[in-house]
Subunit: 364 residues, 2 copies
């Protein structure tokens, strides 16, 4: 799977039931069976290699049984490329009401209609098998960054027991399963979690519980120390982290997969990623600016539309604003990953330090 490594950064290939994926790779988030405002044909034209589906959302609506009955998530949404599904745990903690956590699993109320539900290690695997994703994730608890050490230890130990139950619940042979390393902001608990998980027959490993408000420095410290504890021969996925400079830094540390709502959510809010930094398309000075958003970008949006037009669409609340902005931001992310892969291929060791301190997130 690994093709080259350069001072921590690695380029590789993951063979999945639906096509192979060249890593490092960014996965656009397709929450409810659609990457918001980006039609599947457009996604394909953007060279999106793999997308993420949210088990929590799909389980509540339209329902996993329904999707299985209709031939699985790929056929349901007409996307032939690979799909990774999360376990739903993260959304239960961030969206669900009245959560009650026990050894069995997590009880919660739907954010849609208040109905009661229980997610267990076993049924999140059943649900993901019904969805038929290429990669399933185990159920874990995403621990608040300011939880006390005792809570983190207990929760992490339960996440490990849940991981074992997930493996036992496995029925499909054509779906990879990734374990998730928790352990909060404590290096020793992360280490303990990784040590125990490494013995389990997972196809890959994710690092969870980061990018949840702990701050940039801690995020990178924990990410870098944890990735070093993971088997070198299997894919490593940094969950939900997110800003371009965070991703580049984490690629340099040895992560292979990434996902985040940032490019698409920012797009809908009129915040666009460019080679010069983040740009708010609302800015008055763009009103009569005939230039493309990013003159060094060759995405469909920048090749065809002006800053003035993009600003107008945003100000007028037009749907096309979300469509074009999302296309541009995803193109930016995919191009960034392409540059990461290229830097590794060419052995350019300076890439990480330079690009990870670049001004991607600076607002210009």
């Amino acid at each position: 799977m690994i093709r080259e490594t350069v001072s921590g950064g690695r380029r590789g290939r993951i063979d999945l039931p639906h096509q192979s994926v060249e890593t490092p790779v960014f996965m656009p988030v397709g929450t409810a069976g659609t990457v918001k405002a980006v039609e599947q044909g457009v996604l394909e034209s953007l060279d999106a290699q793999i997308i993420l589906g949210n088990t929590y959302h799909l389980y509540l609506r339209p329902g996993a049984d329904l999707i299985r009955e209709l031939g699985g998530l790929h056929r349901f949404m007409n996307w032939d490329g690979p799909i990774l599904t999360d376990s739903g745990g993260y959304q239960v903690f961030s969206l669900g009401a009245m959560r009650k956590l026990s050894e069995e699993g997590v009880h919660f109320q739907s954010h849609l209609d208040g109905s009661f539900h229980l997610l267990t290690p076993e049924n999140v695997i059943q649900i993901q098998e019904a969805l038929g994703s290429d990669i399933a994730m185990v159920l874990d608890e995403c621990i608040p960054h300011d939880a006390n050490r005792d809570y983190v230890r207990d929760s992490t130990e339960r996440t490990i027991r849940w991981a074992e139950r997930c493996l036992k619940a496995r029925n499909r042979g054509d779906q990879l399963m990734f374990g998730i390393i928790q352990g909060g902001m404590h290096k020793d608990l992360r280490e303990q979690c990784a040590r125990e998980m490494n013995h389990m027959p997972f196809d890959g490993f994710a690092v969870g519980g980061l990018g949840v408000g702990e701050g940039e420095e801690l995020l990178h410290a924990i990410a870098a120390s944890t990735v070093g504890l993971l088997p070198k021969d299997r894919p490593r996925y940094l969950m939900g982290v997110g800003r371009p400079e965070d991703i580049v830094s984490a690629v340099g540390a040895g992560f292979d997969l990434f996902d985040c709502v940032l490019p698409t959510r920012n797009a809908r809010n009129g915040t666009l990623f460019t080679s010069a930094g983040k740009v708010s398309i609302k800015r008055a000075e763009f009103a009569n600016d005939p230039r493309p958003l990013d003159e060094s970008c060759d995405c469909y949006c920048c090749r065809n539309f002006s800053r003035a037009y993009l600003r107008h669409l945003y100000m007028a609340g037009e749907i096309l604003s979300s469509q074009l902005n999302s296309l541009h931001n995803l193109y930016f992310y995919h191009r960034l990953m392409e540059r990461c892969r290229e830097a590794i291929r060419q052995g350019r060791t300076a890439f990480w330090s330079r690009e990870s301190t670049a001004t991607f997130s600076q607002t210009v």
Copy 2:
């Protein structure tokens, strides 16, 4: 311009500064410089020959001077095909507040910010020349269908005087100008209006003030009697009328151009046009229906997505719902016009009577 006529229906070609248009033709409504939820490349793939821009909306936001400065509406929105702009009068009457009508023009307050504006025959032509559309429309008053005869007579006479002022205000040689026949629901006033307008050097004529609540029977009676009063050698445009069966009937009566928000607005509300009638995509029975929306439709949406998926997107409030539904409905309309042109070419006289009483608007 006219190629064939069949018992009233006519096929022809209008040569415009940006390409020629095969008639009869439907013009999707691109209110504020975008056909809602349909990207320009998609519009092109749908064989949309010509689109409509709303002068009222573009004048208020982003402003006609700004669009001129940026190279005109075509360049602003990156649409190389023909554009017809209305005069803004209709929106002043339907959207603007505090309207005050005088011989000079119409004073109104913006629906966006309450600012005060005046549209006159002269400045609506200046605005449309700034936008640079292929076809400009004269300023008229769209008379309520239940106005009394005296009001209709006075208003129609003013519309005629306004039309003369519009012609005098003309500065561009590369833009067609269409007059608008008013006269309310009174055949003699329509006749009088047409007689006077016919003497003026307009490049085409529109029939306005229909489809405003007068009922189907009256709509078709007035449309059919008025179209017969118009010069045969120039394009005839039935403004804002709208349902598929209305359009087919009006094609049979001799109209060449149509526009309506119905296909795109219905799409966003989940109402879809199919060969079997109108369909609400919300229907519970579609939840697990793997079939395409319309099995006899070969649009991108019907070739790639199921009723179950379209229903899910709508129920989940996903932007892709508006994108796919709008694409399908516009495809339906363009295909309908293609069938009209084909029927005329083949001299099928029964087409009008059969299709105009078809079940397009029946809800199935």
